[in-house]
Symmetry: C2
Subunit: 285 residues, 2 copies
Protein backbone atom coordinates (compact mmCIF):
# COMPACT_ATOMS: atom_id res chain seq x y z
CA UNK A 1 0.00 0.00 0.00
CA UNK A 2 1.26 3.50 -0.85
CA UNK A 3 -0.17 6.67 0.60
CA UNK A 4 -2.42 7.64 -2.32
CA UNK A 5 -5.44 9.90 -2.37
CA UNK A 6 -7.72 6.94 -3.06
CA UNK A 7 -7.17 5.69 0.47
CA UNK A 8 -9.78 6.15 3.14
CA UNK A 9 -8.05 7.49 6.22
CA UNK A 10 -9.82 7.21 9.55
CA UNK A 11 -8.75 9.08 12.68
CA UNK A 12 -9.89 7.58 15.97
CA UNK A 13 -9.74 10.23 18.69
CA UNK A 14 -10.17 13.77 17.38
CA UNK A 15 -8.21 15.74 19.98
CA UNK A 16 -5.21 18.01 19.54
CA UNK A 17 -3.05 15.56 17.60
CA UNK A 18 -5.85 13.65 15.84
CA UNK A 19 -7.21 17.00 14.73
CA UNK A 20 -3.85 18.23 13.48
CA UNK A 21 -3.37 15.02 11.46
CA UNK A 22 -6.83 15.45 9.95
CA UNK A 23 -6.17 19.10 9.12
CA UNK A 24 -2.84 18.39 7.44
CA UNK A 25 -4.19 15.43 5.45
CA UNK A 26 -7.31 17.24 4.28
CA UNK A 27 -5.21 20.18 3.12
CA UNK A 28 -3.24 17.79 0.93
CA UNK A 29 -6.43 16.42 -0.59
CA UNK A 30 -6.87 13.13 1.26
CA UNK A 31 -10.19 11.62 2.29
CA UNK A 32 -10.39 11.83 6.06
CA UNK A 33 -13.05 10.58 8.44
CA UNK A 34 -13.11 10.52 12.23
CA UNK A 35 -14.60 8.73 15.19
CA UNK A 36 -14.46 10.49 18.53
CA UNK A 37 -16.24 10.74 21.88
CA UNK A 38 -17.85 14.18 21.74
CA UNK A 39 -20.36 15.35 19.19
CA UNK A 40 -19.11 18.95 19.44
CA UNK A 41 -15.67 17.90 18.19
CA UNK A 42 -17.19 16.24 15.13
CA UNK A 43 -19.33 19.33 14.53
CA UNK A 44 -16.31 21.60 14.82
CA UNK A 45 -14.27 19.42 12.45
CA UNK A 46 -17.05 19.25 9.85
CA UNK A 47 -17.73 22.99 10.02
CA UNK A 48 -14.04 23.76 9.57
CA UNK A 49 -13.52 21.27 6.76
CA UNK A 50 -11.02 19.25 8.77
CA UNK A 51 -12.82 15.97 8.01
CA UNK A 52 -15.17 14.69 5.31
CA UNK A 53 -17.32 12.67 7.64
CA UNK A 54 -17.36 11.75 11.30
CA UNK A 55 -19.38 10.24 14.09
CA UNK A 56 -19.40 9.54 17.80
CA UNK A 57 -20.85 6.07 17.10
CA UNK A 58 -18.95 2.87 16.48
CA UNK A 59 -19.86 3.07 12.81
CA UNK A 60 -19.13 -0.34 11.22
CA UNK A 61 -19.35 1.12 7.74
CA UNK A 62 -16.86 3.95 8.42
CA UNK A 63 -14.41 1.59 10.12
CA UNK A 64 -14.92 -1.15 7.54
CA UNK A 65 -13.94 1.03 4.58
CA UNK A 66 -10.83 2.56 6.18
CA UNK A 67 -7.49 1.60 4.60
CA UNK A 68 -5.37 3.48 7.11
CA UNK A 69 -6.47 4.09 10.70
CA UNK A 70 -4.65 6.56 12.97
CA UNK A 71 -5.27 6.11 16.69
CA UNK A 72 -4.87 9.25 18.79
CA UNK A 73 -6.18 7.98 22.12
CA UNK A 74 -4.83 7.53 25.64
CA UNK A 75 -2.76 4.32 25.76
CA UNK A 76 -5.19 2.16 27.74
CA UNK A 77 -8.19 3.33 25.70
CA UNK A 78 -6.31 2.50 22.50
CA UNK A 79 -5.66 -1.06 23.74
CA UNK A 80 -9.27 -1.51 24.87
CA UNK A 81 -10.60 -0.21 21.56
CA UNK A 82 -8.58 -2.76 19.59
CA UNK A 83 -9.61 -5.57 21.92
CA UNK A 84 -13.29 -4.81 21.50
CA UNK A 85 -13.57 -3.59 17.94
CA UNK A 86 -10.89 -5.07 15.74
CA UNK A 87 -13.40 -7.38 14.06
CA UNK A 88 -14.71 -4.27 12.26
CA UNK A 89 -11.48 -3.54 10.35
CA UNK A 90 -11.29 -4.20 6.64
CA UNK A 91 -8.89 -6.97 5.77
CA UNK A 92 -5.47 -5.54 4.84
CA UNK A 93 -5.96 -2.30 6.79
CA UNK A 94 -2.91 -0.64 8.31
CA UNK A 95 -3.07 0.89 11.76
CA UNK A 96 -0.79 3.52 13.21
CA UNK A 97 -0.85 5.76 16.29
CA UNK A 98 0.57 8.84 18.00
CA UNK A 99 1.08 7.39 21.47
CA UNK A 100 3.92 8.80 23.55
CA UNK A 101 5.10 5.47 24.97
CA UNK A 102 5.47 2.26 23.04
CA UNK A 103 6.58 -0.69 25.20
CA UNK A 104 3.31 -0.82 27.09
CA UNK A 105 1.12 -0.96 23.99
CA UNK A 106 2.94 -2.10 20.85
CA UNK A 107 3.56 -5.75 21.80
CA UNK A 108 0.13 -6.03 23.38
CA UNK A 109 -1.63 -4.77 20.28
CA UNK A 110 0.53 -6.59 17.75
CA UNK A 111 0.03 -9.76 19.82
CA UNK A 112 -3.74 -9.62 19.79
CA UNK A 113 -4.31 -8.19 16.31
CA UNK A 114 -5.95 -10.20 13.51
CA UNK A 115 -3.27 -11.59 11.17
CA UNK A 116 -4.66 -9.63 8.20
CA UNK A 117 -4.21 -6.26 9.96
CA UNK A 118 -0.84 -4.59 10.63
CA UNK A 119 -0.01 -2.09 13.36
CA UNK A 120 3.01 0.15 12.77
CA UNK A 121 3.69 2.45 15.70
CA UNK A 122 4.75 6.10 15.35
CA UNK A 123 5.36 9.06 17.62
CA UNK A 124 5.03 12.60 16.26
CA UNK A 125 7.18 14.84 18.49
CA UNK A 126 4.79 17.75 18.36
CA UNK A 127 2.20 19.18 20.69
CA UNK A 128 0.95 22.21 22.55
CA UNK A 129 0.08 23.21 26.10
CA UNK A 130 -3.57 22.94 25.14
CA UNK A 131 -5.81 20.09 24.17
CA UNK A 132 -8.75 19.56 21.86
CA UNK A 133 -9.36 19.62 18.12
CA UNK A 134 -10.21 23.34 18.49
CA UNK A 135 -6.55 24.07 19.19
CA UNK A 136 -5.10 21.68 16.64
CA UNK A 137 -4.38 24.27 13.96
CA UNK A 138 -1.63 25.65 16.22
CA UNK A 139 0.38 22.43 16.12
CA UNK A 140 3.41 22.89 13.94
CA UNK A 141 4.90 19.84 12.23
CA UNK A 142 7.32 21.63 9.93
CA UNK A 143 9.94 22.01 12.64
CA UNK A 144 9.31 18.71 14.40
CA UNK A 145 10.61 15.16 14.40
CA UNK A 146 8.51 12.08 13.60
CA UNK A 147 9.64 8.73 14.96
CA UNK A 148 8.58 5.45 13.40
CA UNK A 149 8.82 2.54 15.87
CA UNK A 150 8.78 -0.81 14.04
CA UNK A 151 9.12 -4.30 15.56
CA UNK A 152 10.07 -7.55 13.81
CA UNK A 153 6.36 -8.14 13.20
CA UNK A 154 6.28 -5.19 10.80
CA UNK A 155 6.57 -5.42 7.03
CA UNK A 156 8.76 -3.14 4.94
CA UNK A 157 5.63 -2.00 3.19
CA UNK A 158 3.96 -0.79 6.38
CA UNK A 159 7.13 0.91 7.66
CA UNK A 160 7.42 2.75 4.37
CA UNK A 161 3.77 3.78 4.45
CA UNK A 162 4.25 5.13 7.95
CA UNK A 163 7.33 7.13 6.92
CA UNK A 164 5.39 8.45 3.95
CA UNK A 165 2.62 9.55 6.31
CA UNK A 166 5.15 11.49 8.39
CA UNK A 167 6.49 13.17 5.24
CA UNK A 168 3.02 13.99 3.97
CA UNK A 169 2.08 15.52 7.30
CA UNK A 170 5.06 17.82 6.79
CA UNK A 171 7.43 16.73 9.56
CA UNK A 172 10.94 18.07 9.27
CA UNK A 173 12.62 14.79 9.95
CA UNK A 174 11.59 11.14 9.96
CA UNK A 175 13.59 8.78 12.18
CA UNK A 176 13.30 5.13 13.14
CA UNK A 177 13.82 3.65 16.60
CA UNK A 178 13.19 0.30 18.27
CA UNK A 179 10.51 0.16 20.95
CA UNK A 180 13.09 0.05 23.73
CA UNK A 181 15.28 2.83 22.30
CA UNK A 182 12.21 4.96 21.77
CA UNK A 183 10.97 4.58 25.33
CA UNK A 184 14.41 5.20 26.79
CA UNK A 185 14.88 8.26 24.59
CA UNK A 186 11.45 9.63 25.43
CA UNK A 187 12.03 9.07 29.15
CA UNK A 188 15.01 11.39 28.90
CA UNK A 189 14.02 13.89 26.21
CA UNK A 190 10.38 14.36 27.02
CA UNK A 191 9.18 12.79 30.27
CA UNK A 192 12.13 13.90 32.41
CA UNK A 193 11.79 17.46 31.13
CA UNK A 194 8.10 17.45 32.11
CA UNK A 195 9.01 16.09 35.57
CA UNK A 196 11.54 18.89 36.00
CA UNK A 197 9.11 21.61 34.95
CA UNK A 198 6.35 20.29 37.21
CA UNK A 199 8.71 19.96 40.19
CA UNK A 200 10.04 23.46 39.64
CA UNK A 201 6.58 25.02 39.61
CA UNK A 202 5.61 23.07 42.73
CA UNK A 203 8.65 23.97 44.84
CA UNK A 204 8.17 27.69 45.22
CA UNK A 205 5.28 30.09 45.35
CA UNK A 206 6.69 33.57 45.95
CA UNK A 207 3.90 35.95 45.07
CA UNK A 208 4.45 38.33 42.21
CA UNK A 209 7.26 36.27 40.68
CA UNK A 210 5.90 36.92 37.20
CA UNK A 211 6.97 40.59 37.48
CA UNK A 212 10.61 39.68 37.96
CA UNK A 213 11.06 36.75 35.67
CA UNK A 214 13.13 36.47 32.52
CA UNK A 215 12.59 34.22 29.54
CA UNK A 216 14.74 31.40 30.89
CA UNK A 217 12.20 30.57 33.57
CA UNK A 218 9.30 30.99 31.20
CA UNK A 219 10.79 28.70 28.56
CA UNK A 220 11.83 26.09 31.07
CA UNK A 221 8.38 25.86 32.65
CA UNK A 222 6.25 26.16 29.52
CA UNK A 223 5.50 22.45 29.71
CA UNK A 224 4.49 22.69 33.39
CA UNK A 225 1.01 23.37 32.01
CA UNK A 226 0.32 19.73 31.56
CA UNK A 227 -2.61 17.38 30.91
CA UNK A 228 -2.45 15.48 34.18
CA UNK A 229 -4.65 12.61 33.07
CA UNK A 230 -2.58 11.83 29.99
CA UNK A 231 0.89 12.43 31.39
CA UNK A 232 0.37 10.48 34.60
CA UNK A 233 -0.61 7.52 32.42
CA UNK A 234 2.41 8.01 30.14
CA UNK A 235 4.76 8.26 33.13
CA UNK A 236 3.43 5.05 34.69
CA UNK A 237 3.55 3.29 31.31
CA UNK A 238 7.26 4.06 31.11
CA UNK A 239 8.03 3.94 34.79
CA UNK A 240 11.33 2.04 34.83
CA UNK A 241 13.05 4.07 32.13
CA UNK A 242 11.72 7.31 33.58
CA UNK A 243 12.87 6.56 37.13
CA UNK A 244 16.30 5.67 35.77
CA UNK A 245 16.59 8.95 33.86
CA UNK A 246 15.37 10.87 36.91
CA UNK A 247 18.14 9.24 38.93
CA UNK A 248 20.76 10.20 36.33
CA UNK A 249 19.57 13.78 36.33
CA UNK A 250 19.57 13.91 40.12
CA UNK A 251 23.13 12.65 40.22
CA UNK A 252 24.23 15.36 37.81
CA UNK A 253 22.25 18.04 39.69
CA UNK A 254 23.78 16.90 43.01
CA UNK A 255 27.23 17.07 41.46
CA UNK A 256 26.69 20.68 40.50
CA UNK A 257 25.23 21.38 43.96
CA UNK A 258 28.35 19.97 45.62
CA UNK A 259 30.67 21.96 43.38
CA UNK A 260 28.85 25.18 44.24
CA UNK A 261 28.85 24.31 47.94
CA UNK A 262 32.58 23.54 47.89
CA UNK A 263 33.20 26.64 45.75
CA UNK A 264 34.90 24.43 43.18
CA UNK A 265 34.73 27.05 40.48
CA UNK A 266 36.75 25.14 37.91
CA UNK A 267 34.50 22.10 38.41
CA UNK A 268 31.40 24.23 37.86
CA UNK A 269 32.91 25.77 34.75
CA UNK A 270 33.75 22.34 33.37
CA UNK A 271 30.12 21.27 33.65
CA UNK A 272 29.00 24.52 32.02
CA UNK A 273 31.44 24.08 29.15
CA UNK A 274 30.23 20.51 28.62
CA UNK A 275 26.58 21.60 28.63
CA UNK A 276 27.34 24.44 26.21
CA UNK A 277 29.16 22.09 23.86
CA UNK A 278 26.45 19.43 23.92
CA UNK A 279 23.54 21.85 23.63
CA UNK A 280 24.85 23.28 20.34
CA UNK A 281 23.80 20.06 18.59
CA UNK A 282 20.17 20.81 19.36
CA UNK A 283 20.04 24.25 17.78
CA UNK A 284 17.54 24.36 14.96
CA UNK A 285 19.31 24.72 11.66
CA UNK B 1 18.62 64.79 37.86
CA UNK B 2 16.13 63.74 35.18
CA UNK B 3 16.99 61.61 32.19
CA UNK B 4 17.33 64.38 29.62
CA UNK B 5 19.19 64.39 26.33
CA UNK B 6 21.72 66.90 27.68
CA UNK B 7 23.17 64.20 29.91
CA UNK B 8 26.41 62.49 29.05
CA UNK B 9 25.86 58.77 29.45
CA UNK B 10 28.90 56.53 29.77
CA UNK B 11 28.77 52.75 29.43
CA UNK B 12 31.63 50.87 31.07
CA UNK B 13 31.90 47.38 29.55
CA UNK B 14 30.62 47.19 25.99
CA UNK B 15 29.47 43.57 25.82
CA UNK B 16 26.06 42.12 25.07
CA UNK B 17 24.14 44.16 27.63
CA UNK B 18 26.31 47.27 27.59
CA UNK B 19 25.96 47.26 23.81
CA UNK B 20 22.20 46.85 23.93
CA UNK B 21 21.90 49.75 26.37
CA UNK B 22 24.04 51.92 24.09
CA UNK B 23 22.01 50.94 21.03
CA UNK B 24 18.67 51.70 22.68
CA UNK B 25 19.86 55.03 24.12
CA UNK B 26 21.44 56.21 20.88
CA UNK B 27 18.26 55.38 18.99
CA UNK B 28 16.36 57.67 21.34
CA UNK B 29 18.81 60.50 20.72
CA UNK B 30 20.98 60.36 23.84
CA UNK B 31 24.70 61.09 23.94
CA UNK B 32 26.46 57.81 24.64
CA UNK B 33 30.14 57.07 25.16
CA UNK B 34 31.85 53.83 26.15
CA UNK B 35 34.95 52.46 27.80
CA UNK B 36 35.75 48.83 27.22
CA UNK B 37 38.64 46.36 27.06
CA UNK B 38 38.89 45.55 23.36
CA UNK B 39 39.56 47.99 20.58
CA UNK B 40 37.50 45.95 18.11
CA UNK B 41 34.36 46.44 20.21
CA UNK B 42 34.82 50.20 20.18
CA UNK B 43 35.45 50.09 16.42
CA UNK B 44 32.32 48.02 15.87
CA UNK B 45 30.22 50.34 18.05
CA UNK B 46 31.50 53.48 16.30
CA UNK B 47 31.01 52.00 12.83
CA UNK B 48 27.47 50.98 13.67
CA UNK B 49 26.54 54.27 15.32
CA UNK B 50 25.92 52.63 18.68
CA UNK B 51 28.12 55.16 20.52
CA UNK B 52 29.31 58.71 19.90
CA UNK B 53 32.78 58.15 21.28
CA UNK B 54 34.68 55.40 22.98
CA UNK B 55 38.06 54.22 24.10
CA UNK B 56 39.91 51.30 25.66
CA UNK B 57 41.87 53.77 27.82
CA UNK B 58 40.97 55.04 31.25
CA UNK B 59 40.09 58.40 29.74
CA UNK B 60 39.81 60.94 32.58
CA UNK B 61 38.04 63.41 30.33
CA UNK B 62 35.38 60.92 29.19
CA UNK B 63 34.76 59.70 32.73
CA UNK B 64 34.89 63.20 34.18
CA UNK B 65 32.13 64.55 32.00
CA UNK B 66 29.70 61.65 32.46
CA UNK B 67 26.49 62.42 34.35
CA UNK B 68 25.20 58.85 34.30
CA UNK B 69 27.52 55.84 34.22
CA UNK B 70 26.21 52.33 33.49
CA UNK B 71 28.49 49.47 34.55
CA UNK B 72 28.11 46.27 32.57
CA UNK B 73 31.06 44.30 33.94
CA UNK B 74 31.57 41.05 35.82
CA UNK B 75 30.85 41.66 39.53
CA UNK B 76 34.42 41.55 40.84
CA UNK B 77 35.73 43.71 37.98
CA UNK B 78 33.01 46.26 38.70
CA UNK B 79 34.07 46.46 42.37
CA UNK B 80 37.76 46.74 41.45
CA UNK B 81 37.02 49.44 38.89
CA UNK B 82 35.23 51.59 41.46
CA UNK B 83 37.99 51.04 44.03
CA UNK B 84 40.69 52.18 41.65
CA UNK B 85 39.02 54.84 39.56
CA UNK B 86 36.24 56.56 41.46
CA UNK B 87 38.31 59.68 41.89
CA UNK B 88 37.71 60.34 38.18
CA UNK B 89 33.93 60.74 38.46
CA UNK B 90 32.36 64.14 38.18
CA UNK B 91 30.77 65.35 41.40
CA UNK B 92 27.06 64.50 41.43
CA UNK B 93 27.32 61.66 38.95
CA UNK B 94 24.88 58.77 39.24
CA UNK B 95 26.06 55.20 38.74
CA UNK B 96 23.96 52.20 37.86
CA UNK B 97 24.68 48.65 36.69
CA UNK B 98 23.29 45.49 35.11
CA UNK B 99 24.82 42.94 37.48
CA UNK B 100 22.88 39.72 38.06
CA UNK B 101 23.51 39.52 41.81
CA UNK B 102 23.32 42.39 44.24
CA UNK B 103 24.21 41.41 47.81
CA UNK B 104 27.84 40.82 46.99
CA UNK B 105 28.39 44.19 45.33
CA UNK B 106 25.83 46.81 46.31
CA UNK B 107 26.82 47.32 49.96
CA UNK B 108 30.49 47.09 49.11
CA UNK B 109 30.26 49.77 46.44
CA UNK B 110 27.88 52.05 48.32
CA UNK B 111 30.15 51.70 51.34
CA UNK B 112 33.31 52.81 49.55
CA UNK B 113 31.86 55.38 47.17
CA UNK B 114 32.63 59.08 47.47
CA UNK B 115 29.76 60.89 49.23
CA UNK B 116 29.04 63.06 46.18
CA UNK B 117 28.40 60.02 43.92
CA UNK B 118 25.36 57.77 44.15
CA UNK B 119 25.09 54.16 43.08
CA UNK B 120 21.59 52.86 42.33
CA UNK B 121 21.58 49.17 41.37
CA UNK B 122 19.42 47.65 38.62
CA UNK B 123 18.99 44.31 36.93
CA UNK B 124 17.62 44.13 33.39
CA UNK B 125 16.08 40.66 32.99
CA UNK B 126 17.15 40.28 29.39
CA UNK B 127 19.94 38.47 27.64
CA UNK B 128 20.88 35.99 24.95
CA UNK B 129 22.87 32.77 24.63
CA UNK B 130 25.62 34.81 23.00
CA UNK B 131 27.95 37.45 24.20
CA UNK B 132 29.60 40.54 22.77
CA UNK B 133 28.47 43.91 21.49
CA UNK B 134 28.23 42.33 18.03
CA UNK B 135 25.19 40.34 19.18
CA UNK B 136 23.60 43.09 21.20
CA UNK B 137 21.02 44.12 18.61
CA UNK B 138 19.27 40.79 19.24
CA UNK B 139 18.51 41.60 22.86
CA UNK B 140 14.83 42.38 23.24
CA UNK B 141 13.77 44.67 26.08
CA UNK B 142 10.15 45.18 25.01
CA UNK B 143 9.01 41.92 26.54
CA UNK B 144 11.33 41.95 29.54
CA UNK B 145 11.29 43.02 33.18
CA UNK B 146 13.66 45.59 34.68
CA UNK B 147 14.31 45.47 38.41
CA UNK B 148 15.54 48.49 40.38
CA UNK B 149 17.28 47.47 43.63
CA UNK B 150 17.54 50.43 46.03
CA UNK B 151 18.95 50.45 49.55
CA UNK B 152 18.37 53.01 52.32
CA UNK B 153 21.41 54.85 51.04
CA UNK B 154 19.57 55.75 47.84
CA UNK B 155 17.75 59.01 47.21
CA UNK B 156 14.29 59.22 45.66
CA UNK B 157 15.83 61.18 42.85
CA UNK B 158 18.26 58.44 41.90
CA UNK B 159 15.62 55.70 42.15
CA UNK B 160 13.38 57.71 39.84
CA UNK B 161 16.21 58.30 37.38
CA UNK B 162 16.92 54.59 37.34
CA UNK B 163 13.25 53.75 36.70
CA UNK B 164 13.21 56.34 33.95
CA UNK B 165 16.24 54.68 32.40
CA UNK B 166 14.40 51.33 32.36
CA UNK B 167 11.39 52.95 30.71
CA UNK B 168 13.53 54.77 28.16
CA UNK B 169 15.31 51.54 27.28
CA UNK B 170 11.87 50.14 26.49
CA UNK B 171 11.40 47.50 29.18
CA UNK B 172 7.89 46.15 29.49
CA UNK B 173 7.77 46.41 33.23
CA UNK B 174 9.73 48.21 35.93
CA UNK B 175 9.73 46.66 39.40
CA UNK B 176 11.49 47.43 42.66
CA UNK B 177 13.02 44.89 45.04
CA UNK B 178 15.28 45.02 48.08
CA UNK B 179 18.77 43.56 47.71
CA UNK B 180 17.82 40.43 49.66
CA UNK B 181 14.51 39.87 47.86
CA UNK B 182 16.24 40.37 44.54
CA UNK B 183 18.96 37.83 45.24
CA UNK B 184 16.49 35.28 46.59
CA UNK B 185 14.20 35.77 43.61
CA UNK B 186 17.05 35.53 41.14
CA UNK B 187 18.36 32.38 42.83
CA UNK B 188 15.04 30.74 42.08
CA UNK B 189 13.94 32.31 38.80
CA UNK B 190 17.24 32.51 37.01
CA UNK B 191 20.15 30.72 38.67
CA UNK B 192 18.27 27.53 39.57
CA UNK B 193 16.93 27.25 36.02
CA UNK B 194 20.47 27.53 34.68
CA UNK B 195 21.62 24.84 37.14
CA UNK B 196 18.84 22.55 35.95
CA UNK B 197 19.61 23.08 32.28
CA UNK B 198 23.34 22.50 32.78
CA UNK B 199 22.75 19.37 34.88
CA UNK B 200 20.34 17.99 32.31
CA UNK B 201 22.79 18.41 29.44
CA UNK B 202 25.56 16.82 31.50
CA UNK B 203 23.64 13.73 32.61
CA UNK B 204 23.10 12.01 29.31
CA UNK B 205 24.89 11.76 26.00
CA UNK B 206 22.93 9.39 23.79
CA UNK B 207 24.19 10.02 20.29
CA UNK B 208 21.74 11.34 17.74
CA UNK B 209 19.32 12.67 20.37
CA UNK B 210 18.75 15.79 18.33
CA UNK B 211 16.88 13.72 15.71
CA UNK B 212 14.29 12.58 18.19
CA UNK B 213 13.76 15.63 20.32
CA UNK B 214 10.71 17.83 20.65
CA UNK B 215 10.51 21.49 21.58
CA UNK B 216 10.13 20.84 25.29
CA UNK B 217 13.70 19.64 25.60
CA UNK B 218 14.99 22.39 23.33
CA UNK B 219 13.25 25.14 25.28
CA UNK B 220 14.28 23.74 28.63
CA UNK B 221 17.95 23.50 27.70
CA UNK B 222 18.26 26.73 25.70
CA UNK B 223 20.12 28.31 28.61
CA UNK B 224 22.51 25.35 28.91
CA UNK B 225 24.64 27.32 26.44
CA UNK B 226 26.14 29.40 29.15
CA UNK B 227 29.02 31.80 29.71
CA UNK B 228 30.90 29.71 32.27
CA UNK B 229 33.14 32.52 33.47
CA UNK B 230 30.28 34.87 34.24
CA UNK B 231 27.76 32.39 35.62
CA UNK B 232 30.20 30.58 37.91
CA UNK B 233 30.98 33.97 39.46
CA UNK B 234 27.28 34.83 39.77
CA UNK B 235 26.53 31.45 41.37
CA UNK B 236 29.29 31.83 43.95
CA UNK B 237 28.25 35.42 44.64
CA UNK B 238 24.78 34.18 45.55
CA UNK B 239 25.77 30.81 46.96
CA UNK B 240 23.56 30.58 50.05
CA UNK B 241 20.32 31.56 48.35
CA UNK B 242 21.11 29.37 45.37
CA UNK B 243 21.91 26.28 47.45
CA UNK B 244 18.68 26.80 49.36
CA UNK B 245 16.61 26.98 46.16
CA UNK B 246 18.41 23.94 44.77
CA UNK B 247 17.44 22.05 47.92
CA UNK B 248 13.78 23.09 47.56
CA UNK B 249 13.72 21.96 43.96
CA UNK B 250 15.41 18.72 44.83
CA UNK B 251 12.77 18.02 47.51
CA UNK B 252 9.96 18.64 45.05
CA UNK B 253 11.66 16.51 42.37
CA UNK B 254 12.15 13.68 44.89
CA UNK B 255 8.50 13.90 45.86
CA UNK B 256 7.46 13.38 42.24
CA UNK B 257 10.01 10.57 41.91
CA UNK B 258 8.51 8.79 44.92
CA UNK B 259 4.98 9.19 43.64
CA UNK B 260 5.93 7.67 40.29
CA UNK B 261 7.81 4.85 42.01
CA UNK B 262 4.87 4.09 44.28
CA UNK B 263 2.46 4.45 41.34
CA UNK B 264 0.56 7.07 43.32
CA UNK B 265 -1.27 8.37 40.29
CA UNK B 266 -3.55 10.75 42.15
CA UNK B 267 -0.52 12.24 43.92
CA UNK B 268 1.23 12.77 40.57
CA UNK B 269 -1.88 14.36 39.12
CA UNK B 270 -2.17 16.71 42.08
CA UNK B 271 1.36 18.00 41.47
CA UNK B 272 0.61 18.40 37.76
CA UNK B 273 -2.58 20.32 38.46
CA UNK B 274 -0.71 22.61 40.86
CA UNK B 275 2.04 23.26 38.33
CA UNK B 276 -0.51 23.94 35.60
CA UNK B 277 -2.38 26.37 37.81
CA UNK B 278 0.75 28.24 38.92
CA UNK B 279 2.35 28.37 35.50
CA UNK B 280 -0.63 30.20 33.98
CA UNK B 281 0.45 33.37 35.83
CA UNK B 282 3.63 33.49 33.79
CA UNK B 283 2.01 33.47 30.38
CA UNK B 284 2.84 36.61 28.48
CA UNK B 285 -0.21 38.77 28.10
Amino acid sequence: MRLSKDLNILIVGLGLLGGSYATALKKKGFKVSAITKNEEDIDFALENGIIDEGTTELDANLIGKADLVVFALYPHIFVEWIEKNQSLFKSGAIITDVTGVKGSIVYKIQGMLRPDIEFIAAHPMAGREMSGVQNSDGVNFSDANYIVVPTDKNSHKAIELCCELGETLGFKQIAELSVESHDKMIAFLSQLTHCIAVSLMCCNNISGMEYYTGDSFRDLTRIAQINDEMWSELFLNNKDYLLYEMECFRKSFDELYDKIKEEDREGMREMMRLSTYRRKRFDKK
